[in-house]
């Protein structure tokens, strides 16, 4: 485990991504300190550009964009992380069960996974959301989680299948280890890098889906989240009138979260897939090779 941690820390990209995420989470947690008061309060004139007093300007309704940004981070991040966790949990569980137990269980689960995978998510989400009316974060979380688990389930199932036939698992079964022990003690630890990718990818997806739904107006407009900020900005024609800060702040927030998570994912990908890893030795080999090729071309 500690070698994994060392590997992680050596990757500058991962560390950068991690710092970004932690910074944003801290900002969200410290909202009462960074932007005291009610973010829905009217504090200034409509659509004012950023000034010293209101660093991110004001919305059409005269609310402080900075305060909304800081407070809005809370539900956006919280729901995003929680939903991502839920998606990963469901997907991993289903993938594991299908892969390990095989047979009819696998056939049914695999069919379900592939079938739900093929259905386009956003139209389904819009359908569910429009029937449900304006919904709070919990309902959005449920809807997103129930429609996006297949991607992770597929990956987990494939990996479980390949692990199942490895010698140490076969040996464990022959010795008579109970199935739950095999799954939790033998297989699961080997799935950790995959679960990491799954988790980060699911969080990214959850944040995108949540923002999209809220932008389209399915969120609770009274709730201050980055998605509803976009919705309100759009409805007040912020872009057309040139109030770029109104759209820009939440957009920037989402882009930065995405960036941080992507950097993390890049590294998880390399941990899970050693071939992609460019350790110092491989980098050195590639560099030497390039230099030599250049030399030889010049000698001609």
């Amino acid at each position: 485990m500690s070698s994994g941690l060392k590997l992680f820390l050596r990757q500058k990209k991962a560390v950068a991504g991690f710092i970004i995420i932690v910074a944003l989470c801290l900002m969200a947690l410290l909202a009462p300190v960074l932007a005291p008061g009610d973010p829905a309060q009217r504090v200034g004139r409509s659509h004012q550009p950023p000034t010293a007093e209101h660093v991110f300007g004001t919305t059409k309704m005269g609310r402080d964009v900075y305060a909304q940004f800081v407070w809005g981070a809370r539900p956006s991040l919280a729901v995003g992380f929680a939903t991502g966790l839920a998606i990963t949990a469901i997907g991993t569980a289903i993938g594991l069960i299908a892969g390990y137990f095989g047979g009819r269980t696998d056939a049914v689960l695999d069919l379900t996974t592939n079938a739900v995978l093929v259905i386009p998510n956003i139209p389904l989400l819009i359908l569910l959301a429009s029937f449900a009316g304006t919904v709070g974060p919990m309902a959005i979380m449920a809807i997103i989680a129930l429609t996006s688990w297949p991607w992770g389930a597929r990956m987990t199932r494939a990996q479980t299948l390949s692990l199942k036939n490895r010698e140490f698992i076969v040996a464990a079964r022959m010795v008579g280890e109970p199935w739950w022990r095999i799954i939790f003690v033998e297989i699961l630890p080997n799935l950790v890098p995959l679960i990491g990718i799954n988790l980060v990818g699911s969080i990214i997806y959850a944040i995108v889906a949540q923002t999209t739904l809220e932008y389209l107006g399915f969120g609770d407009p009274l709730n201050v989240t980055w998605g509803t900020m976009l919705y309100n900005a759009q409805n007040s024609s912020a872009i057309i009138v040139g109030a770029w800060w109104d759209i820009g702040a939440p957009a920037l927030g989402i882009a930065i979260v995405g960036l941080g998570l992507a950097l993390l994912n890049f590294t998880f990908d390399e941990i899970a897939n050693p071939q992609l890893r460019s350790g110092p030795a491989l980098s050195r080999w590639l560099r030497l090779n390039r230099l030599r090729a250049r030399e030889l071309r010049a000698v001609r």
Binding site: N114, F131, A251
Partner: protein, 327 residues
């Protein structure tokens, strides 16, 4: 071209799932969708229309399975119901208008992204560790993480509103009449640039990443070494030996991404006011036009299934091993 029965089974299951969801959802919330639709119709609410709505959405005293059969019968004859917002147009009519534009947008974006993404990925893997790879590859990962909604808004603002390089809405200049002429096509092309450029970054990022991984794997294979041992040019080895084989997982990835592409197109159309299925869906959901929303889901599901089928066929063409049932 033998498509494995398994794949067809999956597609059938997905389609059934969509149908069942469409059927059960309004019935799970009795009263409110039906009432709201009847209210929407307002003065146009003839008794016949009200009956039709009730029948379609289950506010009737018929056993469930009979209702389901009626529903299936309707689907078989492409009767998706009548739109509430655009009454008395049928759902099919409403969707048919916009489907063409969405198809145009999505197909153009996919082809563009495929070409760009795959090329970038192949070069990044071939020149692994070099400056190109060090810049392009992390950038691609970032592209995947930034949602289309953000890119759409940013693009609209920067290029449309501020720089005024491109028009900010519609599929073509509203003052033009559609026709087979250069001006019209030119206008269509011009208006499509920003939406296509919005849909593309996510796909380019995905294709680049997948192609690079796949190519790195393939470059380690013996047949690539043999290609080099044969004294073939670097280009020949990179294309015919490496890239060709590396494309296979990319195609599989393409099939998986199609659902997400439709999702992205919805948001893009809304931001750019592009008259495709996405915009129709949005206005329908605002107006609670449930028949159109449901029809939309079915249509998009079918489109995704159809596209998946197409990719399956293409894969079979490219990889001869599949045709015999083995992979």
């Amino acid at each position: 071209m033998r498509i494995p029965l398994r794949r067809l089974g999956v597609y059938l299951a997905a389609f059934l799932f969509a149908i069942v969801v469409n059927f059960t959802l309004p019935r799970l919330m009795p009263g409110s969708p039906v009432d709201s639709m009847i209210a929407q119709l307002g003065p146009r609410a003839t008794p016949a229309a009200i009956e039709a709505i009730k029948a379609r959405f289950g506010a009737v005293e018929q056993p469930i399975w009979l209702q389901f059969l009626d529903y299936l019968k309707g689907l078989a004859t492409f009767d998706l119901g009548v739109s509430v917002k655009y009454y008395p147009q049928t759902v099919t009519e409403v969707l048919a208008r916009s489907a063409g534009w969405t198809a145009f947008l999505v197909v153009t974006a996919v082809i563009f992204s495929l070409c760009v993404g795959v090329s970038l990925g192949a070069v990044a893997a071939w020149r692994r560790g070099g400056r190109f790879d060090a810049f392009v590859s992390p950038f691609s990962v970032v592209l995947i993480a930034v949602p289309p909604v953000i890119i759409a808004l940013a693009t609209l603002f920067t290029f449309g509103v501020t720089l005024r390089w491109f028009p900010v809405g519609y599929a073509y200049d509203p003052s033009l009449d559609p026709g087979i002429n250069f001006t019209f096509f030119g206008s269509v092309f011009w208006h499509a640039i920003m939406p296509v450029l919005t849909l593309s970054p996510y796909m380019i990022g995905e294709f680049q990443t997948t192609m690079r991984s796949s190519m790195i794997s393939v470059l380690g294979e013996d047949y690539v070494t043999m290609g080099r041992a044969k004294g073939l040019s670097n280009t020949a080895v990179m294309f015919s030996y490496a890239a060709r084989n590396a494309m296979l997982p990319v195609m599989t990835n393409l099939a998986l991404m199609l659902g997400a592409v439709f999702g992205g197109s919805i948001v893009t159309e809304i931001v750019f006011n592009y008259p495709g299925l996405g915009l129709t869906l949005f206005t329908a959901s605002v107006a609670r036009d449930y028949p159109v929303i449901q029809g939309q889901l079915l249509l998009m599901t079918m489109a995704t299934l159809g596209a998946n089928l197409l990719v399956d066929i293409l894969y079979g063409v490219v990889d001869p091993r599949v045709q015999e049932g083995r992979t």
